[in-house]
Amino acid sequence: MVKNKIKFLLNNRLVEIANLDPNTTVLQYLREEQFKTGTKEGCASGDCGACTVVLAELDPENPAQLTYKSINSCITFIGSIHGKQLITVEDLKEGAKLHHAQQTMVDNHASQCGFCTPGFVMSSFALHKQNNKPNRAEVLEALAGNLCRCTGYRSIIEAAITSSEGVAEDSFAKHYQQTVASLNELQKLPTPSLVGNGNNFIAPTNIDELATELTNEPTSKLVAGGTDLALSVTQNLAVIDKLIYVGNVAELTTLTETDSDIIIGAALPYSEFIDTLHHYYPDLGEMIERIGSKQVRNTGTLGGNVGNASPIGDMPPALIALGATMTLHLDGQERTILVEDFFIDYKKTVIQPSEFIKSIQIPKPKAGQTLKLYKISKRIDDDISAVLAAFFIEQETEQDGQKITKVRLAFGGMAGIPKRGLAAESALLGKDFTKESVAQAKKALATDFQPMSDVRASDKYRMTVAQNLIEKCYLELQSTKTRKVIETRVVNHA
């Protein structure tokens, strides 16, 4: 049986695709198949936002409602938009009338060369659809993944901060019920798949289907957000012959809480769980806001970040410090391991052929426990860390003497895998958190790691800053305790 069909709404038009190479990105599809050139290619690597389009999806909690998400179309495979509404910059204008998100850009003189402009318009449009009175911080968060080389951003910020009056009456609002109905219809279709140019794509909808696919075709590549995998196609010209999209797998896209844990489905995008994590671990929520960009967080997933096993992924050190566990699934069998034990060597993990990550479990904080996170990069937003430091510390109560009873100091960017500094930990464990023990821990860290020099930072900077972050953590905890505030962060968080 050759299944070969995906369906989605291109603005209001139902589109059915078959016989298209599933390595095709949404951007290529728009420009080359639909001749819609309003969406621009700036980098084809998800770093500039010029190709931003918006996906409207049914809210899984409430299928009568739509959520609007900005995404980078240059690194999104066409198959993954099955069942969604794809909105591009050309769709915003109604007749000759510009959409509010467009008109405010014009009024504020917010375009110069105009090449990044459609991307900004779409990010701003998505923001206003979700939030009708965004404040400055929300605007910056929504637009941090869109680079502009001309304006210096002030005019763009003012355009996007402008209240959303008018959005409520736009064409998308007018067609809302119809869109919801159409998308609900699409959910009833059989498992979407695509075959083209000898390459295969399938998007299973439940975990058994996924396990079977992967057992039958162990060389398949799993794709969730594709924010990393797609680069192999657009940058290295790779051809992926078997692609399995996990973003539709119900069991992998849930967020649940128990008394003790937060359980995050491996294929759930960051934007779906950031608020929950922020609630329990403010530093973590704020750090995630600096992972990639809004577009990346709308598609990128925790399972992808961990499974990718990059030494510079930002979540693994945080998860290791928190003592998080992960559940792996292989053909109906499940096992749960510490995230820390997942990584073996550079880009090597314990995962077996046909095995996949189902979920990640993060323990909720208990009294006396603190998580401090520091992301060190050249640029504040949308940059890969030179060093990511995640410090989990449990201390006795004041009456009991405040000794450190548990400590996990985990780092990214310091070794071939995300890793704990065990010598530095033992310099602190069972001791008071003091200047002296901090000095010992800093010294010990030099025996834990021999970081490398690369395009992001020198070995010396990595080590120096990692050591200094232990000191900063100490100062911040002191500051909390004594309530004598020492300002330690240029940007709050990290």
Partner: protein, 790 residues
Amino acid sequence: MRSLIDVKKASSNTDKSVVKGQDNIGLGGVGRSKKHDSADKHVAGEAIYVDDRPALRGELHAYVGQSTMAHANILSMDLSAVKAAEGVVAVITVEDVPGHTDIGPVFPGDPVLAIGKVEFIGQPLFAVAATSYDLARKAARLAKVEYEELEAVLTVKDALAKQNFVRPPFSMKRGDSDTAIATAAHQLSGEIVVGGQEHMYLEGQVSTAEPTEDGGMNIYTSSQHPSEVQKLVAEVLDIPLNKVLVDMRRMGGGFGGKETQAAPWACIAALLANVTKRPVKFKLARLDDMVMTGKRHPFENNYTVGFDQQGQIKGINIEVNGNCGYSPDLSDAIVDRAMFHSDNAYFLDQATITGNRCKLNTVSHTAYRGFGGPQGMMTIEMIMDDIARHLGKDPLDIRKINLYGKDERNETHYHQTVEHNNLSEIISSLEQSSDYQARRKAITEYNTNSSILKKGIALTPVKFGISFTVQHLNQAGALVHIYTDGTIHLSHGGSEMGQGLNIKVAQIVAEEFQVDVDTVAISAARTDKVPNSSPTAASSGTDLNGKAAEAAAKTIKQRLIDFACEKYQVEAAQVKFENNHVIVGEQSFSFAEFSQIAYMGRVSLSSTGFYKTPKIHFDRATGQGRPFFYFATGAAVSEVIIDTLTGEYKTVRTDILQDVGSSINPAIDIGQIEGAFVQGMGWLTTEELVWNEQGRLLSNNPATYKIPAINDAPEDFRVALVPNAPNGERTIYNSKAVGEPPFMLGMSVWSALKDAIASVNDYKTSPTLDTPATPERVLFAVEAIKRAAK
């Protein structure tokens, strides 16, 4: 979730009365904040860039194979796998070039495809045309190339030691600097490494070549210099210039990166189109664009200065060493401009400025906003800070005391008198409006009480010379038509890259006829409409093309006046252009009506216009002259906060006061100032070019090369134009150029970072802070200062 420390109010404060709304009411247009002529199309995705053009029938896609060695002889090139690859229609090497094989823009040195050897990693070796973009890219990777590796020069120090230069060294002298330094009360010396910069125009390099019926070529390109593309395409094809037409509607950013660097891809597309007799598009993928096209020159400069007790400079020697990459390209003029701007805003007294043009085995560095000026200014701004710390003074006081005077102390080291100098007024106005002194005090106090975070503030001025220093480039042409319905068509030699050149020139034409600016249609720059144009560069676009368009409009206007006088028997003074109408004595005609009448009266309604910049001359042999028609000036105050444990920082507030003369379009000018400042700040902070020991660029994509993102712009950003300040020279409506000058205001951020670092040792030591001042460099500068304190 995120919030910033110590920023009470999160809003920008640019003068809204100037910028808000388009002020499209009223006629003519000069002095009004008209929106960019393409603004509505930009936001709707309707603006067409080269890659958005509908594919031509049979269109092929080009790509090139690249050198993997920094310096090597090519022993053999096996292209059989390339030729056999799916979709490939043609493969060419330099052997297949019918005409010139060297496309160096000024001096030879840039082979269109490698000739027997390679001189940088990424150099094009051969070119392929295939049926799709992907297939062309894939095929280009299949060549087998054998090299004989040669010794590569990969550092400026090495190039200096070997005297490996792309062009000969050159000095500018005024007086006897050695004696003046030796006899001054104080002496200091130092050196600084100034990093280069990737243009990162959002639209990458792209050209389409379409063969014509008479053996010629139509080129659609994203280029700042269509006439040069025309010339080079004609030369590589060995056909006359009149058979090549270059059409340039708009660029998705240029910044100098498409002045010479757009031509190679147009030439290669044309060569392949010529071979296949099919249209060929060549679009560089971002990573290849970053590897294969030139960047801002990195520089390594050093100085020795002598100054008096007050900190006033008495004598100075500065050596600027530009890393030019493997070929001359524009480096002669770029290093010249670094030398011209080694004074920035200051009277150097007895000065010797030497410039070396170092040849390295990297991509050939090229024009970039400021054209060497920024790299030259960095040394003198470093010196200002160094003198201040040495004498225990506020750097602002040292800057003020060294400014050029009005009637004395006003001659540059290249013997041009600085006229109409308003920098002391700009600085004192900005000092007050930015509350510099109170904030300086508050910052010092904050730093005393804050152990980890430190703040810094700095005010830096900019004086930037306006004109191409290559004299013949200071000319422009325009072509204006009035049609019988009264609508106007405007062509000029400048190219639109986002800077708002087209709307400004349209405003000038509309002003002449006193009609709505919407009456004036602007289309692509085309070499068959306005020939022999100069690059749109050196901030000169409006100055040159505005004047040329004005001249064309004036010619037609005079014809209309003469016609009206004759036909209606009135005096010239009785013919007026007002409010979309032509008033002739007692009669009033709509502009459309009168155009029709003039047409019926057989009046030519089309004219060219021409302009050349007056007064300028420079004798390179003596290093003396007046290279610049005038100077553009401005100043900025920036405040930063740094983290002394990590080196992270944030620009908290920036205030700018820029002299744009009488602004033709304040909103456009403010946009230029803001954008230039942020780009300049990026150059000096997060934008780091990293080459490895083999000469391979590692920061070769936007994941590893970080231009400012939206959060990096100053949290509090206040830009103002100097009011009532017509240019003292007779420029177009007495305006001043604005494209490049504010770029260098980014230096205020760098100087503020140094101020914050200096606070760690109570401002006793002047930190060395090479650029880009990444968090890493800031942290190490802090650590060096801490060590100095001990």
